[in-house]
Symmetry: C2
Subunit: 213 residues, 2 copies
DNA sequence: GTCTATATTAGGATAGAC
DNA sequence: GTCTATCCTAATATAGAC
C-alpha cells in the first residue's frame, strides 16, 4: 500500500479511537513508523488529511442514502438499510464525536455536512411516504416533517448518545440499537396488520442483546 | 463582583461563543482586562474553571429535572417545563458542543454527566407515566422505554442538531422548536379528546416562527 | 490581589542531505 | 520518497515586584 494511502488509513484509525483533536502529526507518523517530515511530504498537515477523509465519507454515505429515494425499500429491508447507515457513520465516527468543533474549524465542511443532513431528511421522508402509500403506516402529511426530523436526529446522534451511557457496548450492538430506536419512532404509526413487524424488530433486537451478555 | 466570580462568568461566555477548546487563558484574561498572572492566582488554569462551571450546571439542571418527578405537571405545564430545560442547556451549551471531547478529558465529569442523562430519562418516564394515568396518552408499558430514550436524546441534542442546519436561529426559537419536537414524539399517543392540545402546540410554535421572520 | 516579565513546552512546520 | 535536524509559534505556567 502506498504511503499516502497508509497515512489516510492510520489517521482515520487514530482519529476514531482518540478523537481527532488529540491526535498529532507526530503520533500518526510514529504509529506508521515513518518520520514526521515524510508525512509532511504527502500532506500539508492534519488540516489536509481531514477534508480528504470527509470526501470519502460524504461519497459513501450519499450513495447509501440515495438508494431508498430511487427505489422504495421493502418493509424488511428498512432494518438492513438503517444498519448500513449506522455502520457507515461508525466507520467515520471521529466526524461525529466533535461535530461542532470540526465544522467550526472547516467552514467548507460545514456546508457539506448540512447537505448530508438534508439528504438524510429527504431519505427519511421518502421512506415514510413509501410506507404510507403501502398503507403500512398511517400518518398525517403534516406530522411527517417532525417524524423525519426525529429519524434524522436519531441517525445522526444515536451512537454518540448511547456511548455516553454505556461506553463499552460493542459496535454492532450499537447499530442494532440505533436501527431499533428508529423503528420505535415509527411504531405508533404502524397499522394493526403490520404491528407484528414491529414486534419482530423488538424480538430481533432482544436476541442481539442476549448474544452479548 | 469579585474577580473569581468574574472569571467564571467570562469563561462561560467565551466558552459558549467560541467553543471551550478555542478559548485560551490569555483570552479570558484580556476580555476581563486583568493579567494572565492574576487569572492563575484564582484558578490553576482552564482545567480548574471547567469543573466549577459544570458544578453549577449540574446543580441547576438537577433541580429542574426533579420537579416533575416529585409533583406531576399539568398538561399545559409540560411545554413550559421543556422550555426551561432547553434554556438551562443553552446557558451552558459549551458542555454540549463538544461533549465527547470534554468528557474524555475529564473522567470525573463523564460519570456525572451520565447521571444527568439517567435523571433525564427518569423524568421523561415520569411524565409519560403521569400522562398515561390521566389517560391523556395511550401507550404500552414496553414502548415507554423507547419513547423516554427518544425524548432524552431530543432534549440532549436537539439544539446542536438544529444549529447544524440553521446556524443563525435566535436562541428562544431553538427552545420552542425543541419543546415542539418533544411534543411531536408524544403526538401519536395522544387520545382523541386531547388531540387538540397537540394542535395547540403546533399553532403556538407556528406563531413563534412567524414572529422571527 | 494584581501586575510584568519570563520560563517551559508541545505541536506544527520546513530545510537540506540521502 | 524518506530521513534528521532544526525552527517557529501559541499556549501554559511561574517568579517576584508592587
Amino acid at each position: 500500500m502506498k504511503t499516502r494511502e497508509r497515512i489516510l488509513q492510520t489517521s482515520l484509525l487514530l482519529f476514531n479511537e482518540e478523537g481527532e483533536s488529540h491526535v498529532t502529526t507526530l503520533e500518526i507518523a510514529n504509529e506508521m513508523n515513518i518520520s514526521p517530515g515524510n508525512l509532511y511530504y504527502h500532506f500539508r498537515g492534519k488540516e489536509a488529511i481531514i477534508p480528504e477523509l470527509f470526501d470519502r465519507f460524504e461519497h459513501e454515505l450519499t450513495s447509501i442514502l440515495k438508494a431508498p429515494i430511487e427505489n422504495p425499500l421493502s418493509l424488511e429491508d428498512n432494518w438492513f438499510f438503517l444498519y448500513v447507515v449506522f455502520e457507515e457513520i461508525h466507520e467515520y465516527r471521529f466526524i461525529y464525536r466533535n461535530l461542532s468543533d470540526l465544522l467550526q474549524r472547516f467552514e467548507v465542511l460545514h456546508r457539506r455536512f448540512s447537505r448530508l443532513l438534508d439528504l438524510k431528511r429527504l431519505t427519511a421522508k421518502a421512506i415514510c411516504t413509501s410506507l404510507m402509500q403501502k398503507q403500512i403506516i398511517n400518518i398525517d402529511e403534516e406530522e411527517i416533517t417532525q417524524l423525519a426530523d426525529s429519524i434524522t436526529m436519531t441517525i445522526t446522534f444515536w451512537m454518540n448518545f448511547q456511548q455516553l451511557r454505556t461506553s463499552e457496548t460493542p459496535s454492532h450492538l450499537l447499530m442494532h440499537q440505533g436501527a431499533f430506536q428508529v423503528m420505535s419512532l415509527l411504531a405508533p404509526y404502524f397499522t394493526e396488520q403490520h404491528r407484528e413487524f414491529y414486534d419482530g424488530c423488538h424480538a430481533f433486537y432482544q436476541e442481539a442483546l442476549k448474544e452479548v451478555s
